[in-house]
Each structure stands twice: as C-alpha cells, then as structure tokens.
Amino acid sequence: MAERSDSEEVKLLGMWASPFSRRIEIALTLKGVSYEFSEEDITNKSSLLLQLNPVYKMIPVLVHNGKPISEPLVILEYIDETWRDNPILPQDPYERAMARFWAKFVDEQIYVTAMKVVGKIGEERDAVVEATRDLLMFLEKELVGKDFFGGRSLGFVDIVATLVAFWLMRTEEIVGVKV
C-alpha cells in the first residue's frame, strides 16, 4: 500500500472495523508516516499476529523496524515520541496527565459500558444507556469552550474518542438506541 523507505519499516496489523486499529492509522497519517497495513481476520488470527502479540493475541500491533508494540494507547504514545512532527500529546505535564486520564476513561469506562448494550433488551438495555450517558457527560464537560479535546487541533483524546464519535453512533444505529 504505502512506500517503504530504507531507513524505516512501519507495519500495522489491524482490522477495518476496529476503533482501536483505526486510531493508530489516524495517528500515523497525522504524522505523515508511511506504513504497510496488514488486515487481520480476527476469526482466524495469523501466526504472525500470535507471534508478535503473544500476551493478548489482538490487533492493533505496530511493527517498527521489526520490533512489535501492542496496546492501542501504548502504540499512540510510541508514535508521538518517535515521530516528533505534529505532536499528539500536549507539552505541559498537567495537560498530558489529563489527556492520558481521559483517553483511559474512554477505553476503560465508556467503551466497556457501552458495549454491554449488545444483546440486552428492555430494562437492562435502558440501564446500560443511562450508564453510558452519565459517562459521556464527563467528556462533555471537557469540551466546554473548545473545538477539540486537544484545544484548537486534534490531540490524543480526540483520536481516542473517535470511538465515541464514530463507533458509538454506528452501534446506536445497529442496536436502535440513541445515547
């Protein structure tokens, strides 16, 4: 897909429908990094994936000059620290701590809670929707007075929260509920 320079070899094992995989592509694109994308069939994981991520056996996995990195937030920080143009994380230590906090919140709270809606009906479903809405309110407060979580431009939390902007909305359509 993309050209590969002799000095850098960047490969991403990912999946088109995964918000965790897509966010890595967004980051690499923002940084202008050429990479080779390898689509994984998660119902039939490749031996390469199992070899590169023996702990979780999941995408995304970034491979840079032969060295694999797993876990979406870890990969994002690695990308930010390796390719310094167009910084994703803020410079100020407190802002960085806040960005990391909210990113973790999106992945561990919003995503996990929202996904519980799958397969639920009636009162149980209402409870999940209510819980997700409460969590989203925390994020809502962070956007007051700003276009992006990162301020004037896309930052760490914006990239992570594409999960909310895109995937949550798609789930709403599929499941038939508005959060």
């Binding site: 797993s70 876990e71 870890v74 407190y94 701590a97 906090f101």
Partner: protein, 223 residues
Amino acid sequence: MASSDVKLIGAWASPFVMRPRIALNLKSVPYEFLQETFGSKSELLLKSNPVHKKIPVLLHADKPVCESNIIVEYIDDTWSSSGPSILPSDPYDRAMARFWAAYIDEKWFVALRSFLKAGGEEEKKAVIAQLEEGNAFLEKAFIDCSKGKPFFNGDNIGYLDIALGCFLAWLRVTELAVSHKILDEAKTPSLSKWAENFCNDPAVKPVMPETAKLAEFAKKIFS
C-alpha cells in the same frame, strides 16, 4: 517548592497509592500525605476525583492528578531534573514499560486479587494457572527490559519496577493466606531476585507495608 504545594490523598495499605509515594521519594519531593479512613471517602477525595472517587490522587498546587500510573508519569515529567528518570529514555523501552504496567493491572493483579476470593479447588487451580502464566511473561519481560541490570529500569528502579513492586506486600499476604508460593525462585529466579532488591530500595522501604500488619488488615476487610 514548598511541601504544602504537593499533597497525596491515599491509604497506607493501598499498592496503587504506593506508586506515587515511591516516585515522589525518588525525586526527593516532600509532600503531605492525606490518609483516607478505610470505609469512607473524604469530601476532598470526592471533589478531586469525581469520575472514579478513588485513591491515589495527587494534588499539585491544588490541581488534581488521578490514576496511579498517570500520576507517576506526571511526577517524572514535572520533576524531570531531579533524581533519576523514572521512565526509560528510549521510546521503545518506554512502550515496553507502559505495556507491561498495563498488563500487570489488567491481568496479573486481577488474578492475584481473585486468589484471595477463590472458592473451591477448581477455582484456585484456575487462578494459579493464570498467575503462573503471568509470572512467566513477567520473568521474560524482566530479562528483556533489565538487560542484565538489577531492575526493569536498569540500575535504578523505575516505572515498571514500581508498577509491579507495589504489589509485593499483598503478594506475600496472599501466599500466607492460601499456603501457596506464588513467586517461586525455582520458576522465576530473576523476578524473585528483583523482588528482594526492590523491597530494599531506599525509596521503597519507608512506604512498603509490613506483611504482618497488612495480613491483619486483610483479615479485617475480607471477613
């Protein structure tokens, strides 16, 4: 900076609270320790961490920072010129440290905690299998990260040492309670040696709870 500028809301028995305490010690940053009473949450805690309502919370000039590993990175970023670096300098080494720290919280510690709650023999066996797999991963990670030095971070303790080492007292308490050696020198020799070195580190010793005191506390809260 005046010591009143840095406060930490926490509790002596919490391994998560130990993390920022060790980091602050490494950076020689004086701080006021605001001890929470077990079983209740102070107004300050609820105000400072409205999202999770959990300790630890670092208050730096009244600005709260939450989540133990995030606080440790904040301490490293803020007091970067003081004391040793808590995170490694190479981006790949940093990624490895963060990866394993996340694994420890999401998988390893969850397994350890469930050991204490495990009911029958079958459940216990399942947890033991999980922990042994985890320990094997961590033994290899230690060999890879330490590159022959005493700690995950090399010559000095760092982010990943702190992320795992904070659980050592609870590990010992669990071993006593279930009469089973979880960290076995025979199976994980490097990790066992590391554990000893970690507990003896001057930044760790003052904040590591005594096993006997912790065991008594555990009996109280799990009864």
